[in-house]
Amino acid sequence: MATFGFACLVLALIVCAYGIGASLYGVRTGRVEFSESGRRSVYALAGILTTAFVVLELAFLGNNFAFNAVADTSSRTTPALYRAAAVWSSQEGSLLLWAWLMSMWSSLALFLTRKRLRDVAAYATAIMLGFGGFFVALMVFYANPFATTHPVPPEGVGLDPLLRFPTMMIHPPMLYSGYTLCTIPFAFGAGALLARRVDAEWIKAIRRFAFAAWLFLGVGILLGALWSYSELGWGGYWGWDAVENASLMPWLTGTAFLHSLMIQEKRGMLKIWNVSLVLATGTLAIMGTFLVRSGILDSIHAFGGHTLGVPFVCLIAVMIVGSIYLVVSRRDMLRSEHRLDSWLSRESAFLANNVVLVALCFVIFWGTYFPLISEAVTGQEASVGPPWFDRYTVPLGLILVLLSGVGPVIAWRRATLANARRNFLVPIGCALVTLLALELAGINQKPLALALFCLAAFVFGSVGQEFFRGTRARRAMAGEPVPRALLALVRRNRRRYGGYIVHIGIAVLFVGVAASSSFQHASQLSLSPGQTTRVGAYTVRYVRPTATITPKYDHAHTGSTLSLGALLYITKNGHHVATLNPSEGYYASEDASQGTVGSLIGGQPVSHVAMNASLTRNVWTAIDPDIETTALKRIITVGNSTLPAEDALVAVAYLARAYLKNPPPAQFNLLVSPLVMWIWLGGLISVGGGLIALWPAPSAVRRRVTARSRERAVRGLARV
């Protein structure tokens, strides 16, 4: 079956080549049937890659260790769910996932535009097939997911225990969906420039694609942060790591694009800016994909061989040079039709927001690629740390939050100054009240966090006011009761009110970030059973050690041989708050040199965090037990020399019992962070708002609205 899988890839490559040729021929000669054939090539590609993906999945689920990918990342003892996810934990499998998602989303985009944007879509098809073909070619020539070895190994290496978490299963598909979705606006943007057609229809189509990309990318980023926080042993959700930054950058430019696109729609301005943004987003997405796989930023991760680096650099170079050429050569048709009517307008606020977002992106770009830059400039590779990032992103973030509260309050085109001044009273009032309340509560040592809280209150006030006034206006017009009016208001103005909800979500998220980073109580210390310590307002008592062996009893269900942990009793002011059981899982390794017993627990140790989460604060605990005491080491050595492999587990059980009887002091990492839940909640609210904004109105409603608007427009003419 591996040969069939590889044959699929080869067929896919041929289809890509054909599709590019057919689309370009069709659009240049006007022969629609060839453009149509090109479009169907994308559908065919999706079908072929789905088949290939299914073949690989079946190999994983069926433990077919002839496949190198299966043998390298899965094993018989890996739980079924993780075996399915292990497909994308290897370089080759993840390339297949990327290509497959690319083909599916491209098919959807082309299906949705099958009756419109003929020539733009044809060029876009060629570009999307170019991307697809690139990734398929990588698999065919460099990293074949269907490579096999003979003789077939009896057992696989197993999935890295660090990845055996539910969030890790869904994070890559989400993130890759985000990345691949970014290439679709890129394709349609470049396609529009090639077809010399950047107009209202293009705006309508590309907005939806950009929105979908923004949504999925955002979810992918949030899931990554959630994974980092709840599964890794350091208790943080964001470290300005290159890989995190790589996914954030296209999201920032995507956000900017969604806003400035509205300006183009209304005033015919910023065309060059918009196409540049959409091309940059796609390029940043490909750069992000590349960053993770190559060894190029040596200081962080060193995945994949350097063999993949060169093709990616070529692709990125082509994208950058091509984008610049297209924009410069088409600049005549990208001239603005109007200017800004007034500085006091929503368009103006959106412009400011764009500037801030692009500035943020630049800062993060600079910091992320700095090791390369410094090496090129000074010959010495150097890197900047989180403090440098924080120094620039925090002020920019504050300005962004401020703008997100200003936008809703100002009208389009030109706002009336007197009205605007009046409209700011409530939001500013909210901010001042918050400031007063926080000062009185004594929370004033962190000025930046304080500023953020006040700005967030400003946003809540401004958006709340909008909802209130909108509902009131609706009731005045239609006389509905409040709940119905509110619903109708949102339903008939999805884009606006969905956007407002996103702003609320982002403000909530920022509040969570500010609170949890500025007001965190941390404690790293060594404790013996019976000892107590204080973290913030909480008292933590190490009650007793815990130990479990064999996968069957591992409460985390992750397949560790041995799990050593601690029972922690958390109290506040004498009241019991939670009982937590953080643990460290020891997995089997494939290293026979560690001995029969040693190899059962000599694999990657993974910390299992235990936390008590609530709306107001998280109590987060992790343990690093000492498994290397002389007594415990002796058990392993004795077991190694006396026990055969099938009995080795007995020694591990003995070790567990010894640990329980004479527990050595263990290292604990304890954190009490306020409002962490708000981060995830804020993200959820934003996603909800985004979905509302993105959701198309049912066509019946749209026709009714169009008819009514037309009637009014005509009446207006008569009046004039």
Partner: protein
Amino acid sequence: MGLLIAILTLLLLGLVVALVSAPLRRARQLDPPVPQDAERSDLEDPPSAPDSRLHDELDAAREAKYREIRDAELDFRTGKLSGEDYRAIDADLRAEAIEILNRLERLKTRDA
């Protein structure tokens, strides 16, 4: 096993070729030209392709303009615009909308 793989591959190849070449085959069947088809299919090249493109474009522009008019009204009703400013903006927008509608009308009379 090898035979199974070969069969599967050929099957897949056949499906792909059928899917991808369908438009080409259909186009060849339409030659010699067929009298006006009542049904409008995907491939049928409308007699005035640039016009249909212009039509789509104006359609989208009109929808966007209607949205702007509604947005302006909502801005007024939520107290962001004074009555005077609103009437001025509304008049501007309606005039722009009328222009788009006129262009659409001209296109339709040209087609007829």
